[in-house]
Symmetry: none
Subunit: 241 residues, 2 copies
Amino acid sequence: MLKHIRIILCQPSHPGNIGAAARAMKNMGLQRLTLVEPEVFPHADATTRASGADDVLANAQVVASFEEAIADCQWLFGTSARMREFPWPQLHPAQGAQKILSLATLGQEVAIVFGTERSGLSNEQLQRCDYHLTIPTSPSFSSLNLAAAVQVIAYEIYQAWLGVNAQPKSPPADQFIDKATMDEVTGLLNHFEQTSIKIGFMDPAHPKKLIPRLKRLFSKAQLEKEEVNILRGFLKMVKQN
Amino acid sequence: MLKHIRIILCQPSHPGNIGAAARAMKNMGLQRLTLVEPEVFPHADATTRASGADDVLANAQVVASFEEAIADCQWLFGTSARMREFPWPQLHPAQGAQKILSLATLGQEVAIVFGTERSGLSNEQLQRCDYHLTIPTSPSFSSLNLAAAVQVIAYEIYQAWLGVNAQPKSPPADQFIDKATMDEVTGLLNHFEQTSIKIGFMDPAHPKKLIPRLKRLFSKAQLEKEEVNILRGFLKMVKQN
């Protein structure tokens, strides 16, 4: 369904940004890039910054006008940092990504449109859009780099796509732990206690909180069998000294 | 609370990436940048790409080693694209951002660590981290640009921050931990290593995986200052025997 989603960059000034945007797209499973009147393209800076996303650049559609770029799109999502004079349906990137994905899933042609580095999309362009996407930023420093904005939007789309495609996942890696049994942990605690007494670290008449503290530590660590073995091996060598 | 969060870039090769990372940070309300052995810095490319985030660059701390960078941090979040040999607590950026923010809210010093452009963080560096952050990407093209990765993580942190500030929540009680600093954990690891050698538990010529395993154990346990003191007290007594 990601194939129904395209990125449109309007009059990008810096070829480096085009390359970086292509890389950001491909990282997130997006392939279709349209460039409206790029100032310089193709260019070595674009290729360098694409860093392997050459296919996205090679297949990029270069067009002479915004109208041409959006002609066969069914839904337009315009990115905008600024509050505009007209109230418009405005979405957070995460909400927007859900919307975009649900449309693409239906086979609808969706475009996300980015404006120039200097001034973003024009009001006229924004008024063509069905929705505005606004990336929340620090009010005192709100202008994102063009490729960085593409990265954030592409990231949210890919996360939404993963969510939709969430197949029964293999359990997270930390569940493949060969966790020690309670018996094994108790054995370790006893071993620790005996050793502490032997080396004079704990006075059995006044044990203080040593063992409770160790219990808590081992519990937090979710000790595995191998870790119990390592620690007991260490304690065994202490006793022989 | 964002002031307790810093970004650490390890041996970045391209000054442009440093500048773009600074811009991405400032866009998302983050100010503290640490550079470990940058190949070239300062540099005109960094300043250009920072595009106004000059204060972040000017205040960047440049250090000679990873150890120095993390010394006074209490929590380390390592970014990693790859599955590693050890299972490790792994978080999606959105989950990670929640965690990072809840720690920073308590005044804990949190660092998010990014590796080199070419190969990311080393296994040794990743083993020092409390959590790994993995940005889900297309399996066929998974390597994000360094500044793009900083952008995604900073974006998620800022969204989490906006969320927290929209609905002031009281942090969960179990996070009031007086966590040990990385320096204190390093001290404990060194002490353990020396003691292991002294008692013949570890052959320095063939250390096997003892120290990495202990690093991982201590990381899982999220060691507190008092626990470090207890374990070092124990090790001190071992040495005297």
